[in-house]
């Protein structure tokens, strides 16, 4: 007989096979991190069954079992290998296995030699991801599955990793998208992530087998896979136990069952993980800490019989809805804190009705909102005003500490921090999509480990050896926790370690503090997460500073909004009254905007009196408020130029297709003119969109490459599908030398991505794919090169023709650049004439692609600000010394743009940074330095496939708000 154990990240699976390899017993239990105890328990249960006669073969598998197996000297089988062993024994005709586990996604190709794909360190988990998303929707995983079966439409949710998806899902919920649609979209994201991240060019076909928990339990997930793969996959018997069965089959250790139990029991985990000093030495220290923090408070008074003026503040956050009433003395008269359950409007309605009914005499003199749902709330309930959440938090913090130097707010989904100099916000830090482990992150871990959030945090307070889990995003943290468990860390130490990690994440990933003192001495911490004493303590210890944490830390945004409402000095608030609320209607309709290339997924909220509010939009067009102009937007100018290129008939009946990607955004005019001169028709692949990306994603070999690079696959696919026989996409180590830096390289991705296409996209085998190494810096070398290349690969041309074409191409390139620069100057002049501020949205030429910039340019222009790019002004500065190797042409422009605008009051720069861009780690520091050394605010926006602009909006508004205040202060 044989026993197999599969110790996964969350569960233990145990099976017993008889001598004919039939499964005669199986168990499936969550282990809640108590791995050793639960393995022993599982084995003892086997023993109780009295099915084991004599000696038994036993082996373990699963990533969480690796350490224990080697420690207890029990055979260990790698889990993918175990799956394979089991599959080849029982499923002889399987061609491909898709296995999703708690945190792993794997694809095994069984034909033509085994090929295995496992998710990379960045791609995040799948089972855990679905758990997280279910928590977000406030449903169980089963309910999520049921919801998905009723979906009508699928939203595009970033399929890269859990954290990214979350930033997409949250706003969808807040905008009122139907839960069933969101549920189905979440499952589809898992499918896309698995297919996109793991197939890496190999097609999934033939007999496909589904394995693992999520695929076993969720029929809708299987259906979603079937749909995307265009086939019908098969869920075999024992689909949960393949790893365990494989382990059992592999074992060569034959002993009595008691022997194995004994080995496990005598195995002591060493507890030699990395750890921090305890948060509190003892109870006494904890008590002193509590006493000290009890001082920072506002009074919370009763609203009973209180008919004097009160002011209402609403903070409609990403996961929660908070509202508060304050009186003229800033005492809190009423406070409510709700989980928004994806439907903030109806929650708010009920809450208001409750308020009115309980306190009919309530005398609201002003009402304002803040947070993600700010505008939705204003429109739904006729509030008197709203303000961007950073400002709300700032004014609230000032109430507790008038000379505050730094505010940090860790909420459910986001971290917001800002620095204050001279009473004005001088620097804003928001967490980028990749480091969002925050409050909800702790919560997810708590429930994964079987605890309630409040209890979970408390058990860590007096832990002796808090685990050092590093300071990375949620996905990495999952693995770190797994490792700590393996090393024998107990639950209290893991809890404390997670709290410390949240703090480190905020300090070192978001704010990137290197000097503790740079935050100043006056720090106010807020956000619900800080009500967790372990987090608060960890923060103070890390900074070596006593900070202020108000008793209303969780509702500071709402408090700030209420203060704002009070400042409006109204005689009466416009907010809906009880009668209005009773007739309150709220209908949600979703549709896709067709007014431009961005194809925003819009949500139309209709209220009583047919008042409506649209969300999900990037620009103002669907609102029809005003058509803000392209006359202030260099991005749309360049887009228009690129769209206007149409193939021209020439003397040669040859089509040259060029993918509109990366450096082609700048060089297209060059190559267009070059090949047109030779009498060929030149075509490009157009701008990117989600569909194009998804269609190319199966051939992407490296899931951590930047999004603009991954898009190339979609463009090539599109061109091949359109039937073009020649695709021209050259490798270019060097860019054009603009004499601005120490060298003129392209980044490695821009330089060599054609090689990746050649090696990974099978479709191009049947066409001419030209990826020669070309440089534009030496005309003579270029002419020779092109002459040989074209004669060899395309058609016969003469040297003279090439020379003329080259001349024309360079002219076209220069004209293209100069037209952008002229237009840039026009915009500057126009903006100054009309007193509009100017923002340089600085990135690289390919950020012009609306599929990459997601319409941030339109968002900026929609805020009544002119929008330029780096290349439209970089020529205005002479070469200067930077603190880094200024060796990439595109980045040299970035530095030049930063240097240039630093001279002007009305100009500011926002750097667009692609997730996964290694160069931007260097360029962003330098750009920040260039700007801050001239007293400018540095703002960075990280972009990826994410299409939601909520966080971007906050950042932009905060920046504009800070600039405005700065301007006002200067005038005084």
């Amino acid at each position: 007989m044989r026993i197999g154990l599969d110790i996964g990240s969350t569960t233990i699976k145990c099976i017993v096979l008889d001598d004919n390899f039939n499964v005669i017993y199986q168990t499936y239990e969550r282990h809640y991190a108590h791995i050793k105890e639960n393995i022993i328990k599982a084995l003892k249960k086997v023993k109780e069954q009295n099915i084991i006669k004599g000696e038994v073969y036993l082996a373990m598998s699963g990533s969480a079992g690796m350490g224990i197996a080697s420690g207890a000297e029990i055979p260990f089988v790698q889990e993918v290998y175990a799956t394979r062993v089991c599959a080849s024994k029982f499923l002889k005709d399987a061609s491909c296995i898709i296995e999703l586990g708690g945190e792993d996604a794997k694809i095994l190709f069984l034909e033509n030699g085994l090929e295995v794909r496992m998710n990379g360190t960045c791609a995040g988990g799948t089972g855990a991801f679905i758990d997280q998303m279910a928590t977000l929707l406030n449903v169980t995983v089963d309910e999520l599955n049921n919801l998905a079966s009723k979906h009508e439409k699928i939203y595009n949710i970033a399929s890269r990793c859990g954290v990214f998806a979350k930033t997409d899902v949250q706003p969808l919920l807040n905008q009122g998208a139907a839960k069933s649609d969101v549920a189905a979209s979440i499952l589809k994201a898992v499918v896309n992530q698995t297919i996109g991240g793991l197939t890496q060019g190999r097609e999934i076909k033939g007999n496909v087998i589904y394995l693992g928990g999520p695929l076993t339990f969720l029929d809708q997930l299987r259906a979603s896979f079937d749909e995307s793969l265009h086939l019908k996959g098969f869920l075999p018997k024992n689909s949960l136990y393949f790893v365990a069965i494989g382990a059992a089959l592999c074992s060569d250790a034959l002993h009595p069952l008691d022997y194995f139990i004994e080995r496990l029991s005598s195995y002591k985990t060493e507890g030699n993980y990395r750890y921090y000093p305890p948060l509190f030495k003892d109870e006494k220290e904890l008590e002193e800490f509590r006493m000290r923090h009890a001082k920072d408070r506002v009074e919370i008074k009763s609203l009973d019989h209180y008919d004097k003026p009160v002011y209402l503040g609403i903070d409609s956050g990403s996961t929660t809805l908070k509202f508060i009433l304050i009186d003229d003395e800033y005492n809190v008269r009423y406070v409510k804190y709700m989980s928004n359950e994806g439907n903030p409007v109806s929650l708010m309605k009920d809450a208001l009705i409750e308020l009115y009914e309980k306190y009919p005499y309530v005398n609201i003199k002003g009402a304002a909102s803040t947070g993600y749902g700010e505008e939705l709330m204003i429109n739904a309930f006729s509030l008197d005003g709203g303000l961007v959440e950073t400002m709300a938090h700032f004014i609230a913090a000032k109430h507790f500490m008038p000379d505050v130097s730094f505010v940090i707010d860790i909420g459910g989904q986001d971290i917001k921090c800002f620095k204050i100099d001279d009473g004005i916000i001088s620097d804003i830090f928001l967490n980028e999509a990749c480091s969002s482990g925050c409050g909800s992150f702790l919560q997810t871990f708590a429930s994964a480990l079987g605890y309630k959030m409040e209890d979970f945090a408390k058990i860590g307070l007096l832990a002796k050896k808090p685990v050092d889990l590093g300071s990375r995003c949620t996905v990495f943290m999952n693995s770190s926790v797994k490792q700590a468990q393996k090393d024998g860390a107990t639950i209290d130490n893991i809890s404390a370690g997670l709290s410390i990690s949240v703090v480190k994440n905020a300090l070192y990933k978001v704010i990137r503090v290197t000097d503790k003192h740079s935050l100043g001495k006056k720090v106010v911490v807020q956000g619900g997460t800080f009500l967790n004493e372990a987090v608060l303590r960890a923060f103070e210890k890390e900074l070596d500073l006593e900070v202020v944490c108000p008793n209303i830390a969780g509702v500071m945004g709402a408090f700030g909004a209420a203060m704002h409402a009070k400042k409006l000095h109204l005689t009466q608030s416009n907010i809906l009254k009880l009668d209005d609320l009773k007739n309150f209607k709220h209908q949600i309709k979703t549709y896709t905007c067709g007014l431009c290339n961005n194809k925003c997924s819009l949500t139309l909220n209709t209220f009583q009196n047919n008042k409506s509010f649209i969300s999900g939009n990037r620009c103002e067009r669907p609102l029809a408020k005003k058509v803000t102009g392209d006359e202030y937007n260099i991005y749309s100018y360049v887009q228009n130029i690129l769209s206007s290129y149409k193939p021209i008939e020439g003397k040669r009946d040859i089509d040259i297709a060029i993918p509109l990607v990366l450096n082609m955004y700048e060089l297209y005019p060059f190559w267009f003119s070059f090949f047109t001169s030779l009498g060929m028709r030149v075509h490009h692949s157009g701008f990117s969109n989600a569909k194009l990306y998804l269609e190319g994603q199966t051939t992407i070999p490296s899931d951590t490459a930047c999004f603009p690079a991954k898009l190339v696959h979609g463009h090539i696919h599109k061109l091949v599908k359109q039937g073009y026989k020649i695709i021209f996409y050259p490798c270019m180590s060097y860019n054009i030398d603009e004499q601005k830096g120490d060298n003129h390289y392209n980044c490695p991705i821009v330089a060599y991505y054609p090689e990746t296409i050649k090696n990974n996209v099978d479709e191009i085998q049947n066409i001419t794919f030209i990826k020669d190494y070309i440089s534009l810096n030496d005309e003579k070398v270029f002419i020779d090169k092109m002459y040989n290349m074209i004669n060899k690969k395309i058609t016969k041309v003469t040297k003279k023709e090439i020379k003329i074409a080259t001349k024309n191409a360079f002219i076209a390139y220069k004209e293209h650049l100069s037209s952008i620069r002229t237009r840039g100057q026009d915009i500057i002049d126009r903006a100054r004439k009309n007193h509009k501020p100017i923002i340089i949205l600085a990135g690289r030429p390919y950020h012009v692609d609306p599929g990459i910039n997601h319409g941030i340019d339109k968002l900026i222009v929609g805020m009544d600000v002119a929008c330029l790019n780096e290349e439209s002004i970089s020529h205005l500065v002479a070469k200067f010394k930077t603190n880094v190797m200024n060796q990439w042409t595109y980045h040299a422009r970035l530095y030049a743009a930063a240097k240039y605008i630093a001279q002007f009051e009305d100009m500011n720069l926002i750097q667009l940074v692609s997730f996964g861009c290694g160069l931007d780690a260097i360029t962003s520091d330098e750009t920040r330095l260039l700007l801050e050394s001239e007293g400018k605010i540095y703002t960075q926006i990280k972009i990826d496939e994410i299409t939601n602009l909520g966080a971007v909006k906050i950042r932009l508004r905060s920046l504009l708000e800070a600039l405005k205040e700065r301007g006002e202060k200067d005038e005084k």
Partner: protein
């Protein structure tokens, strides 16, 4: 308000290591290749430089790196800078130490290591520590150490011995009868060669011709017991490929799991850097005189490499493919124009390994390493289609990439490798 003045403080051009410091200052060397660096140290000592190879490799190195270097920067930069700063923190002779760092140049962000180090030093309050920049590919651009033929020949000799010892150590450590005997033998030779080098001996061709066969002979006589072992090659970004800090002690892990490992030597990388100037000339034109000097250097290094191969010929150990041939192994997969980071060399090394029986490969790379998207992960599919037996696992290294995950993947690779042995 910060001004121009402050910014100039750490401009990268300033090399502040002056000739006078040679006498007074101890040069701190970050750890990467244990054997090579000990010999390199001896070479520097023989020229009158005082050196110290850093041995601190606890977790503080990475934590400190995280604090002082932009977290999205490559992991190697984080490790090296973290190691420097950790070392400086505990010294009380700060006015008497200098740092040495290598620079590869090219379009990779690694070219920015020096500015990154300067920034970090400034943040940590060590802005006055002088830095020596050693450029492996283009020695003329090295700053701080006077470069002459004498130094160059010593440097190349150190690499020659280092590559030999590393190769033989890896050939024997898995099979040694007495645990630790292969390592002990390496150290015996490092002591001996180190002493010779310090006495200005050992680095000339005649010495190499004398000692290389002796080294090979010693390993040839080391008692080993052969067993079926998965043959695993390690390739990747140079630092994480070689440095145990960078790769979570990958070599040790593989050997303890019964594998025979093969880590391509430093000659390949040095020659690759030089060779790229030749290819550049072909692609982009340039000055012919520069080409001639490079050719002389390449020729010189290739001859030294051949000495190793010759010495191996008379032993029981299989040899490796000389760079001269190996450089063309990437043909048909990736062009020689792909020269950033490890570029085409990475691909060529993988093919060389597969050809010599090491078809199981760990492809190491720092998380988000740009060139490796193309020359590493980007060519796996192609290699697999050309070599059916290729069993490559790509591992990302990063400050919080979990060791469990990494080892789990490697174990899968090993399981498949073992199965292939049985076939």
């Amino acid at each position: 308000m910060k001004n121009e003045k402050e910014r100039e403080d750490y401009l990268l051009d300033i090399c502040d290591f002056t000739p006078e410091m040679k006498k007074t200052h101890t040069i701190l060397v970050p750890a990467m290749l244990e054997f090579h660096f000990k010999l390199l140290e001896a070479a520097l000592n023989s020229l009158g430089y005082k050196t110290e190879i850093l041995t601190n490799n606890d977790t503080h190195v990475v934590t400190t790196g995280l604090r002082y270097v932009h977290n999205d920067t490559c992991y190697p930069a984080l490790c090296v800078i973290g190691q420097f700063i950790e070392a400086l923190k505990v010294r009380n002779d700060l006015d008497k130490v200098a740092l040495i760092i290598t620079q590869t140049g090219g379009g990779c962000r690694a070219t920015n290591y020096v500015p990154l180090l300067r920034k970090a030093l400034k943040k940590a309050g060590f802005q006055n520590i002088p830095i020596i920049v050693l450029n492996l590919g283009n020695l003329r651009e090295s700053r701080g150490i006077k470069l002459n033929l004498k130094f160059l020949s010593k440097l190349v000799a150190a690499i020659t011995y280092g590559d030999t010892l590393m190769y033989l150590h890896n050939k024997t450590r898995t099979y040694e009868v007495t645990p630790g005997s292969a390592y002990a033998l390496v150290n015996k030779w490092i002591d001996k060669l180190g002493n010779l080098i310090r006495q200005n001996k050992g680095t000339k061709k005649s010495y190499l011709k004398k000692y290389l066969p002796q080294i090979v002979d010693d390993f040839n006589n080391l008692p080993i017991k052969l067993k079926p072992a998965p043959k695993v090659g390690i390739v990747g970004e140079i630092y994480v490929k070689y440095s145990p800090i960078g790769n979570n002690h990958l070599e040790e892990f593989l050997v303890s799991n019964g594998a025979e490992i093969n880590v391509p030597g430093l000659f390949g990388f040095a020659l690759y850097c030089l060779q790229n100037s030749i290819y550049d000339y072909g692609y982009y034109g340039g000055k012919h005189i520069k080409l001639r000097i490079t050719n002389i250097l390449i020729n010189y290094l290739e001859k030294r490499e051949l000495l190793i191969i010759k010495a191996l010929k008379d032993s029981k150990f299989t040899s490796f493919t000389p760079f001269k041939e190996m450089k063309d192994y990437s043909k048909g997969i990736i062009k020689h124009g792909a020269k950033m980071g490890e570029g085409w060399l990475l691909t060529a090394e993988m093919i060389e390994l597969i050809d010599s029986g090491f078809s199981n490969i760990v492809l190491t790379q720092p998380f988000g390493c740009l060139p490796n998207h193309i020359c590493g992960k980007g060519v796996m599919k192609k290699i697999k289609s050309l070599h059916n037996d290729a069993n490559i696992v790509a591992i990302d290294y990063d400050s919080s990439a979990s060791k469990v995950n990494q080892e789990n993947r490697i174990k899968l690779m090993l399981a498949i490798a073992r199965e292939n042995i049985e076939k």
